[in-house]
């Protein structure tokens, strides 16, 4: 039943026209807001960036295209075009013939098609019929003859059709060949032109794809862009790198290339290009598809940090380097501090921190200079002594500071107290940090004026520190091991001592400069202590005994034995004893022990294991000295002095600091910012902490036992950057094991060697792997400096090297050197590691070598002859007697060749003679075989023979080789000549340079021990050992 309409109009509760108007307006607003939403959703920074990049790319491509066109459309091109025209004209003269041939082809085409089809059909029938026949043979022998007949019929048919097809194709081919002959020249020209213009055409084609035309706009317009946009988020999935959220690993998906489009593309290196569009500055190491860290498997965020999936400047976690940059970013990109981002991008100056996570097993980081410097400081200052760092712990570093086990016999008590009070006052560049009188004891309010209460705290802190310094020194003196420093009679010549100090190479590790600033990264000369002021620190007699045999005083010292003659040692000691401490150091007031404070400190330590009563009773038993020693011992434990110094009673003590192995990944909220207002980032906290280690105690009211303990290392800004890079690099791995740099046996051997080299400061004197040789700057004549160690593994026999490193004998090879290789007292393990290190660097055979090379007398004789011809003996002595002969200027000599057979590798000798300039640039050894125009070594000897002065030599060579031709061939070949020279030189050490006996067994192949040695110069590999490194 239909509902009845209301009898009379019902009043509306609302005014309907008003509702209509409201609906109109609100609907309008919603529509506007909806459009706004689409606009906001559509407009993303990365789209703008991609568009801008396309324009930039288009511009560069256009320039490339234009340049390529310029290059392609040269005179040659015009000539080719002219030739092409003439070729075409020539073809025109054969018009009639061409027309006929084309007609023939035209006729043939359907016939070939039909014949081909017939052949294929017949072949199909034949295959089917053959199966039937085979089936009949196997299963239905009766019907086999019938099947055979029809198969035969088909076989014949197939043959006919094959033949017909072949005939038709042949006709076709002949006609085509005639046409090709006519067109041949034109075709050649066209191909040449095409090849010459390929670059231009490719660039033009690419330029076409970069145009932002209507189709591009349409594809990328709002809503339509869901179909197939060309502007899109780019990402690379990194299953081996993950974000660790505990109990779960989220694989990284790096979207950085959405904006950094050209990061892995060459051609955008120009520094004028905005950073976001630029090529990665180190493409050969990172990001590049051919580098060892391609972007497809390493991405960006695993090293740089940052939010992998982010596609906007802010959310990616870009971190400003400076406050100025922060302001600029805030203005330009709405950047703000993101407290939720636990792993923001490392500021650019710390970028190298990203390397350490995977490369912690390496000793040096030559490719990452800031990190390398940072690690050098962390190792050198002994950070690892208090703070466990897994990567360094595995390297088993020696303690940083000197042993204090016998300190009482070495230094005066007052000196020790002043030294602990302020080490930098004694030596500006010392590694020893300042523990006492730091701001949390004597300046608790920081830069703002202290309140009265704080003033009192400062005074108390000063007294506490005074008492502590005294107590520590008392313990060290009291527990110092008894030892005698026997008095040395006589007086040395200080002036001679000063000269010796410079000549013997002491300056490879030591400075004598009261004003020196610490530099552990630029020079290797601050390895040992600065000797300035040493005369105030210890006595002449102690210095004498120490430098005469350092290991006798302290078996663990790194100081080597220079094998000084007693009188030389005395001279040096005499000189060093004259070096006195700066006046400011002697002016430091000696700390005064406050007995009340001492008792309080002692009570605190006693109460860690006892009740108040027992503790007091225990203390009452001690006299003042006893309490001082007791407090000193506990303070040494409290401040961790034993982390750097060997101290009696602390042989097995555990480090006191926070472990730093994963400090770079530590959650920021776990860092105590105290009352200091800083941006809450790891780098800001670490930097502040390193700069002022006690700053987070500012305004705190705490007892001495609760105060921060980290000493002040007086870092410079540069050092802060470097150390911070290292500390930020101590990160959680958060990557699969396979991406970590794993050392193969050779690399591991090299790292072992590098570690020993670093720990013994070999680079203070020698250039090794391209680094070091700091002492060279002090030696006027480069040839008088310690040798550059390059290609050592390929050069010397491992046996010899082993023996030499164990007990160096000076004066045998280069007697003119005043600088002496010291005796380091390496262990067997270290000696093996070192010899293997050098052999591995140059990929040389290790350890066994053939000793009795058999030389053919002919080669030996030729070598001897060339030896004389080149006047090698002018510089190279052939025996000790040669060197000591009267009238010989020892300083101008070259290495003694008597040693060659026992020291050098057989094959290396020839290689060295052939190209000494490549083995050791700057060597005094003349390059007798210069490189020719083709890059191959040439021998000028062949030409010499024709000169009239050499008639006698010519005769001799004729006799040796039988014919002029053979002699010239020998002398013209650098390889042959150097091999012969080698054979002669070898004989010097073996039998004094006499002719070898005719061999009974075939000679050993020269290549046998030289498999992986540097290839001859022709291969274009210049410096052998520099390339052998990494």
């Amino acid at each position: 039943m239909p509902r009845k309409p209301p009898a009379e109009p019902i009043d509306h509760h609302y005014n309907i026209p008003r509702l209509n108007r409201s609906f109109f307006w609100t609907g309008g607003i919603l529509t506007f807001v909806f459009v706004l939403m689409i606009v906001y959703d559509y407009s993303r920074d990365w789209k703008t960036i991609q568009r801008t990049f396309m324009r930039l790319d288009a511009k560069l491509t256009r320039e490339q295209a234009l340049a390529a066109r310029q290059k392609a459309l040269d005179d040659e091109h015009a000539k080719l075009i002219g030739e092409l025209k003439s070729a075409r004209a020539e073809i025109a003269t054969h018009k009639a013939r061409l027309a006929k041939l084309n007609a023939t082809l035209h006729d043939l085409e359907p016939k070939v098609y039909a014949a081909d089809q017939q052949y294929k059909f017949t072949k199909a029938s034949f295959d089917a019929e053959r199966y039937l026949y085979e089936d009949a043979l196997a299963n239905k022998p009766k019907s086999a003859p019938g099947a055979k007949r029809s198969l035969d019929r088909l076989t014949k048919q197939l043959d006919d059709r094959t033949l017909r097809l072949a005939q038709l194709k042949k006709e076709q081919g002949e006609a085509q060949a005639q046409i090709d002959t006519i067109n041949a020249r034109k075709k050649d020209l066209e191909t040449t032109i095409e090849k010459r213009t390929a670059d231009f055409r490719l660039a033009r084609q690419k330029f076409g794809t970069l145009r932002q035309d209507t189709l591009f706009q349409l594809r990328n317009s709002p809503i339509l862009d869901m179909i197939n946009p060309s502007l899109r988020v780019q990402q690379v999935q990194l299953p081996d790198h993950f974000i660790n959220v505990n109990f779960m690993r989220i694989p990284r998906v790096d979207r950085c290339t959405t904006c950094h489009i050209a990061a892995d593309r060459k051609g955008f290196e120009d520094p004028k290009i905005k950073t976001v569009y630029r090529t990665h500055p180190r493409m050969h190491r990172m990001v590049g598809s051919e580098s060892m860290h391609p972007a497809t498997s390493f991405g960006c965020t695993p090293c740089h940090g940052g939010r992998d999936r982010a596609t906007s400047f802010w959310s990616a976690g870009h971190s400003p380097v400076s406050e100025a940059e922060e302001h600029a970013w805030t203005r330009k990109y709405d950047w703000e501090f993101d407290k939720f981002n636990e792993n923001p991008i490392l500021p650019l100056k710390y970028a190298e921190a990203g390397c350490y996570r995977c490369h912690s097993s390496e000793a040096n980081f030559p490719e990452a200079p800031t990190l390398d410097a940072g690690m050098r400081i962390v190792e050198g200052l002994g950070c690892w002594g208090c703070h466990r760092i897994d990567g360094l712990e595995k390297q088993r570093l020696p303690r940083v500071g000197p042993s204090l086990e016998k300190v009482a016999s070495k230094v005066p008590t007052d000196w020790a107290k002043r030294w602990i009070t302020n080490p930098a006052a004694f030596r500006g560049n010392t590694k020893m940090p300042t523990f006492f009188y730091q701001e949390n004891f004597v300046d608790v309010s920081g830069p703002k004026p202290p309140t009265d209460a704080q003033k009192k705290m400062n005074e108390e802190g000063h007294v506490e520190n005074d008492t502590m310094v005294n107590a520590i020194v008392e313990y060290l003196i009291e527990h110092s091991r008894p030892s005698q420093v026997p008095p040395v009679s006589g007086k040395g010549d200080a002036a001679h001592g000063q000269k010796l100090l410079a000549e013997r190479g002491c300056y490879g590790c030591h400075l004598v400069d009261p004003l020196a600033q610490r530099d552990l990264t630029g020079t290797y000369r601050q390895f040992g202590p600065n000797l300035a002021g040493i005369g105030s620190k210890t006595t002449r007699d102690w210095i004498y005994h120490w430098i005469s045999n350092p290991k006798e005083w302290n078996p663990d010292t790194k100081m080597p034995n220079l094998r000084l003659a007693p009188e030389d040692a005395l001279d040096i000691a005499e000189y060093l004893a004259t070096l006195k401490a700066p006046a400011a150091f002697d002016a430091i007031a000696l700390p005064r022990t406050d007995e009340k404070v001492l008792n309080q400190i002692a009570l605190y330590f006693e109460m860690s294991t006892k009740t108040l009563f027992d503790a007091k009773a225990e203390l009452a038993k001690m006299d003042l000295q006893g309490r001082q020693v007791y407090v000193g011992k506990n303070l040494i434990a409290h401040y961790g002095c034993y982390a750097c110094h060997a101290i009696p009673g602390f042989e097995d003590a555990k480090p006191i600091g926070t472990e730093l192995t994963e400090e770079g990944s530590k959650a920021v909220h776990r860092l105590d910012f105290g009352f200091i207002h800083l941006p809450h980032t790891r780098q800001d906290w670490f930097r502040t902490k390193l700069h002022a280690p006690r700053i987070f105690d500012r305004d705190r009211a705490r007892g001495w036992e609760e105060k921060l303990r980290m000493p002040n290392f007086r870092f410079s800004d540069r050092e802060l950057d470097q150390v911070l890079t290292a500390v930020l690099g101590f990160q959680q791995l958060n990557a699969a094991a396979n991406v970590v740099k794993e050392l193969d046996p050779r690399e591991a051997a090299i790292e072992h060697g590098r570690r020993i080299v670093k720990d013994h400061n070999c680079q203070g004197c020698h250039v090794i792997e391209g680094f070091g040789g700091s002492i060279r700057s002090l030696v006027a004549d480069a040839s008088l400096a310690p040798p550059i160690i390059q290609g050592e593994g390929a050069k010397v026999q491992s046996d010899w090297l082993f023996a030499f490193l164990r007990a160096p004998k000076t004066g045998q090879i280069r007697p003119w050197l005043e600088v002496h290789m010291p005796t380091f007292g390496f262990s067997d393990q270290e000696l093996n590691d070192l010899t293997l290190y050098f052999a591995s660097l140059d990929r040389s055979a290790y350890p066994f070598l053939v000793q009795d090379y058999v030389t053919s007398p002919a080669s030996w004789a030729a070598g001897k002859k060339v030896f004389e011809l080149l006047k090698c003996a002018q510089c190279h002595p052939r025996s000790i007697e040669d060197m000591n002969r009267p009238g010989v200027d020892r300083a101008s000599l070259a290495p003694n060749l008597q040693m060659a057979a026992t020291r050098l590798r057989h094959d290396w000798i020839a290689d060295w003679i052939r190209r000494p300039d490549e083995w050791m640039p700057g060597t005094r050894m003349p390059t007798n075989f210069p490189k020719g125009d083709d890059g191959h070594r040439t021998s000028p000897l062949a030409g010499l023979l024709d000169a009239p002065n050499f008639a006698k030599d010519r005769e001799e060579f004729l006799r040796l080789f039988g014919s002029d031709e053979a002699a010239k061939q020998f002398l013209g070949s650098p390889e042959a000549v150097t091999r012969a020279l080698r054979d002669y030189v070898w004989s010097i050490g073996v039998n004094g340079g006499t002719a070898p006996v005719e061999p009974k067994t075939p000679p050993v192949q020269a290549q046998s021990t030289f498999g992986a040695a540097p290839a001859p110069a022709a291969s274009g590999r210049p410096a052998p050992s520099a390339a052998g490194g990494r």
Partner: protein, 361 residues
């Protein structure tokens, strides 16, 4: 000292939970009886006070930092929304009371005499509301981005770790009650209790119209629960609870180092050690006997006592089960402020503490 700083310090001091809750409880009872508040003029003054106070507070950097967090903006909105509806309901109620006193029907009575079609009168208005709400939500979502954080890491929880805004009242209860009670028992009772209200409160007065006079007790009780113990605790949890769940005044800097002593002791310790000066008995029943008796009194005896005295009127009006359930629910609700005061005055941790069964009250 600068008067503004002085005022801020005073507000910081007074917004500590003990004062805030006390003022809210007393203030609520007073204000619902204060007629001028529920006129149009009173509403405007109230709005001006709240909006002006909050608006000026935005000038304070510490307040601004907390109140402008995308998480917290809706809570500021909630203050206004809840405030408006509170005022609206009360002003309607007073108006109706006046009309009823004059012998006229309530406003809603006149309205309901009139009949209109659902279209356009209802649906059209709803549509317009829908459009407006959508527009507002879209604009909101454009300008205040969702405050998304890093993937959750169980070893790296944020400080303060806050529940979603609607649970902040419950989280505040956790300060005073055992997690089993505050986190499990009470929320269940709240839900069941709210569902039970229509069955307990069978008073037909106020059905379909606002009134205060006719339902004084019920309204006071409900508003105490809803406004003070729920909405206000949400506001407190949002704006006044900072790192380590410490209390911070609205203008105070959220300093992570702030330390507040939390030396709370159990009732058994107060009685046995402080009063009797004896060591605690080993047997839990003996040890906790006073607390158990007290709780037993509160839940079992008190309703009966009340039925004879204070709530006699209700007991007579309602049947016994209704009365008992209703009073139990009300007492449970009031247990929260009671426990709060016990904590603030006596540092009381638990009235009954039986760690043997992980049972604490």
């Amino acid at each position: 000292m600068n008067p503004i700083t002085l005022l801020k310090n005073a507000i910081d001091f007074l917004s500590a939970p003990q004062y805030l809750v006390s003022m809210a409880l007393v203030g609520l009872v007073l204000v619902i009886h204060w007629r001028p508040m529920w006129t149009r003029k009173g509403g405007i003054v109230l709005l001006a006070l709240v909006a002006g106070g909050i608006g000026l507070s935005y000038l304070d950097p510490n307040f601004n930092k907390v109140a402008t967090l995308p998480d917290n903006v809706p809570i500021v909105g909630m203050i206004f929304l809840v405030g408006f509806f509170f005022w609206f309901a009360m002003s309607q109620a007073y108006e109706n009371d006046r009309r009823i006193a004059q012998g006229r029907p309530p406003i809603e009575g006149e309205d309901s005499a009139q009949k209109v079609f659902s279209w356009p009168d209802l649906v059209y208005v709803e549509l317009i509301c829908l459009v407006v709400v959508m527009a507002v939500m879209i604009v909101w979502s454009i300008y205040l981005k969702a405050p998304l954080e890093e993937p959750a890491n169980p070893t790296d929880s944020p400080n303060p770790a806050k529940a979603p805004w609607y649970f902040l009242g419950l989280q505040e209860m956790l300060v005073y009650f055992d997690p089993w009670l505050a986190g499990v028992a009470f929320p269940s009772v709240i839900i069941v209790g709210l569902m039970a209200i229509p069955y307990i409160d069978t008073n037909p007065k106020g059905n379909g119209y606002f009134t205060f006079k006719e339902r004084r007790w019920e309204i006071t009780l409900f508003l105490t629960g809803f406004l003070v113990l729920w909405c206000m605790l949400i506001v407190l949890g949002t704006f006044l609870r900072g790192p380590n769940w410490n209390f911070f005044g609205p203008y105070e800097f959220w300093d992570i180092n702030k330390l507040v002593p939390l030396n709370n002791i159990n009732l058994s310790e107060i009685i046995w050690i402080k009063v009797f000066q004896r060591s605690l008995p080993n047997f839990w029943l003996f040890r906790e006997i006073f607390g158990l008796v007290l709780v037993g009194f509160y839940v079992a005896v008190l309703p009966l006592l009340l039925s004879k005295t204070l709530l006699r009127r209700f007991f007579e009006k309602m049947d016994t089960p209704r009365y008992l359930i209703g009073v139990s629910l009300a007492l449970m609700m009031l247990a929260l402020p009671i426990k709060m005061y016990l904590r603030w005055i006596f540092n009381l941790k638990y009235i009954v503490a039986i760690p043997e069964f992980a049972f604490n009250i």
